[in-house]
Amino acid sequence: MTQLIQNLILGLLLSGVYALVAGGLTLIFGVMRVINIAHGAFLILAAFITYSLWSALGIDPLLGILVTTPVIFAIGWVTYKTVAAPLRTAPMASTVLLTFGLALVLEAVMGTIWGNNSTAIRPGYGDESFTVAGLFLPKAQVYGGLVAVLVLLALGLILTRTWLGRAIRATSVNPDGAALVGIKVTAVAALVFALGIAAAGAGGAIVGVLYPFVPGAHYQWIARLLAIVVLGGMGSMRGAVLGALIFGVGETLTSAYVSPSWATAVPYAIVFVVLLIRPQGLLGTRLRADAVAA
């Protein structure tokens, strides 16, 4: 029983990280209708940057988020301006190919700079645990999960409480209408892209503390993220949080109680099944599709 509760808590903490990163992915999709396959690559990139800050300058990886996130935000903004901007009008299948190409290039960049060996960030508290009521909770996971939830709340506040947030939501519902009421849609899109990628960046810094990583790990991550986003319904923030909860807890329990060799197949199977049975996700609604054509 204690074991189960412990696993559940660890699953919830992991879900916080998943929700943050998947939230970034779904935000970009909601506003730009772009499925950013490079999202996982940005996450691993942030983990490597965090690693360099920690190993070269001794900056605590979780405090390092304050540095990593703005850096990744800037990289995201530049990426939008140079690569992603023409995509706003391109067919969606080609945007998938383009961001997939971007993921490959990022993987190569990371392999060139940091090498393809497994890298780990081990801060002082890396091996310590909290022991509460017989539960055994690694400090890194507790801190990581809490930081992720804090950043996610900050993102949520930006989206619901600021003018920028309203502009973003307006743009995601109707870009033409948003432009008519004075929102500079291209600027909003650039900000959203950068914000979404910054969320992956913040998540990446935390992930770097929790697991060892290699440049090629981005495939695994994008698979998880797509499974989460697809579960919750693409473009829905609340859906991403719900999907992350289901996926995070489910994954922790699966690897604890079921064979880990098939566990790698779980995200792919989820993507496959959900897109086939309920393409709009759990929380998504089908929109009127004929009005666009008429």
Binding site: T95, L106, A293, A294
Partner: protein, 613 residues
């Protein structure tokens, strides 16, 4: 321009000449060099050429972008691997066709489960599919030997010619693959696939059986790829899950297709022979790994951004521009006077003129039709009857649900409830293409031609009924094309037959769309604003054509805002308001109905009418 210059810039002749030269070179290649490095490079290029050419059918023609194509090479390799290690007395070559069947069977399965997803969701499904197949290959140890991989028996023939059998087998598979692609492009099946790529919903309304066509395309796109994968596996003599199901194989295949040119015959081959040498250079001269990733990732981004059409189409349009330089474009030409349908009908074998009117038996009956979009009741209990042989009008204010009623009648969207009876048969559960086969043709308010197809191809695309033979029938020439030309003559658009549809003006597109649905031999034609957005002369011509078709027995249901047009043409007329029929009757009844004037026509309409009489 001299004759010799014309020969040099005729894309067809240039293409054939180059293809012949390439084939001779490929046939002779192994005899020219015995350098293993180059032989290996060309053998891999052939594998990727088959892979890309297969992908072309599902991605280039049908428009479904797949990042899982490499899975079929892997499946082919594993089929030959698993069978050859089990039955060591049998020649492994025997398993090559089996590998093709296995790949096609898995592709059909993938096609079946992904029938409902399009666009980006489909791309993601194909990636998930590839990784799932890889996980199975890793875990199904009894068949695949897991991550340790399978070692095939070594070839039994002379080491001197070790590569030749692999080479010529792959070349033969590529030739068959290309012949199939060439044939598909010219058939009704091919037209249907391209129609699906251009506008899937519209394709269904002109009688194209979407699931069947897509499943065939999936099988055709993988059968020879599986065979090539088997030869490739035999050539490698060692297969393992990481190598055979690497996503980079899929990336290289799709890159070959995109760079060479989607939906072209030779593009995928050209692309494969361009990319594989680059891949070898990156591997051998720059240490592989990261360099390969830079190459593939960078190329993929560059192609999507800068050259979405690919090399061959770019060269083709350049040649075309050279050829037509200084000649007047056809797009600005005048619309023809239109042919008489009487002459057409003799050849087309239509029925004798019949005269039936408002009193006749109902051809289409709609009862209690309802469609809600969230809280919005777009259609709310609409009922109407279209008598056989009539020209029935459907009018009403903007947003009253007229187009939605059309969408429900031809199943472009699914109704929440309500009955639709056509010629005595309940059809509300039938998909769009079955309704088209029963004789319902429909035009769209904003014309929906297949933009990248020529005018002629647009008109030959419809399928009057479903049969397997018909799918294999040649569409771009012969009786189908002759019929299409007659219909184009009727609407006055024959001079434009080789223009791409997106180059036409709106009015011209309306005429072509009418010819397109006439290809269905429809008993009932639904016209959504036939007179909207076109000049008065064309409006008049449109009215004449409707009358002429009607005099031969075709029934019409017309949505239109041009009241003089409707009042002169239609009887009976239904008035729709807030998704329900509020009035119906003859033109004179409608014109004077106080409720209709209040809801739609307005007081000044009545005044104008009085002033006119």
């Amino acid at each position: 321009m001299t004759r010799s210059m014309q020969v040099l810039t005729d894309p067809l002749r240039v293409g054939r000449l180059l293809a012949a030269v390439a084939l001779v070179l490929l046939l002779a290649f192994p005899l020219l060099t015995d350098d293993a490095y180059y032989q290996n490079m060309v053998i891999l290029s052939l594998v990727f050429a088959v892979g890309a050419s297969g992908l072309n059918i599902i991605t280039g023609f049908a428009g479904y972008v797949s990042l899982g194509q490499g899975a079929f090479i892997g499946l082919g390799g594993y089929t030959i691997g698993a069978l050859a290690t089990r039955f060591e007395s049998v020649s492994p070559w025997l398993w090559v066709p089996v590998a093709g069947v296995v790949a096609a069977a898995v592709a059909v399965l993938l096609g079946l489960v992904s029938l409902r997803s399009r666009g980006p969701a489909f791309v993601i499904i194909t990636v998930a599919f590839l990784f799932l197949v890889q996980v199975v290959a890793i875990n199904w140890v009894s068949v695949t030997n897991g991550t340790a991989g399978l070692t095939l028996p070594l070839p039994s023939w002379d080491r001197e010619i070790i590569n030749l059998p692999f080479y010529y087998a792959l070349l033969a598979i590529l030739v068959i693959q290309l012949l199939m692609t060439w044939w598909i492009r010219r058939t009704k099946l091919g037209m249907g696939l391209i129609a699906i790529r251009e506008d899937e919903t519209k394709a269904a309304t002109i009688g194209i059986n979407l699931p069947v066509e897509k499943i065939i395309a999936f099988a055709a796109s993988s059968v020879f790829v599986g065979m090539a994968g088997a030869v490739y596996g035999y050539y490698l003599t060692f297969i393992d899950p990481r190598g055979m199901f690497s996503i980079l194989i899929s990336v290289q295949i799709i890159l070959s297709l995109l760079i060479g040119g989607k939906a072209t015959l030779w593009g995928p081959v050209l692309g494969a022979f361009l990319i594989e040498p680059l891949n070898e250079i990156a591997n051998n001269s720059f240490g592989g790994g990261n360099m390969r990733l830079f190459l593939f990732g960078g190329l993929l981004m560059a192609v999507v951004i800068f050259m979405p059409k690919g090399v061959l189409p770019a060269v083709e349009s350049l040649l075309h521009r050279r050829r037509t330089a200084g000649k007047a474009g056809l797009v600005g030409a005048r619309i023809g006077p239109g042919g008489s349908l009487t002459s057409l009908t003799e050849r087309a074998g239509r029925a004798e003129p019949v005269s039936r009117g408002p009193g006749a038996a109902p051809l289409l009956e709609v009862a209690g039709l309802t469609k809600h979009f969230g809280g919005l009741k777009a259609v709310d209990g609409c009922s109407l009857t279209v008598p056989e042989g009539s020209i029935t009008g459907l009018i009403g204010p903007n947003g009253s649900g007229k187009t939605t009623v059309f969408n429900l009648i031809d199943h472009t969207i699914r109704a929440d409830s309500g009955d639709v009876t056509f010629a005595g048969e309940r059809i509300e559960r039938l998909p769009s293409w079955e309704r088209a086969h029963r004789g319902i043709g429909r035009t769209f308010q904003i014309t929906r031609l297949f933009g990248e197809m020529t005018v002629l191809e647009n008109v030959v695309a419809p399928q009057r009924s479903f049969s397997w033979q018909q799918l294999g029938r040649i569409a771009v020439s012969g009786p189908e094309a002759d019929r299409a030309e007659e219909l184009l003559e009727f609407v006055g658009m024959r001079a434009f037959r080789d223009q791409r549809a997106h180059a036409l003006s709106y009015g011209q597109q309306k005429l072509v769309e009418l010819a397109q649905i006439l290809m269905l031999d429809p008993r009932l034609i639904l016209l959504d604003e036939p007179a909207g957005g076109i000049n008065p002369v064309l409006v008049e011509r449109m009215g004449e054509m409707i009358r002429e078709l009607n005099s031969f027995g075709t029934t019409f249901l017309i949505v239109e805002h041009n009241m003089p047009f409707v009042l002169a043409l239609c009887d009976p007329i239904y008035v729709l308001a807030r998704g329900a029929t509020m009035a119906s009757g003859t033109p004179s009844q409608i014109r004077t109905d106080p409720a209709v004037i209040d809801a739609y026509l307005g007081d000044d309409f009545q005044l104008e009418q009085e002033a006119a009489t």
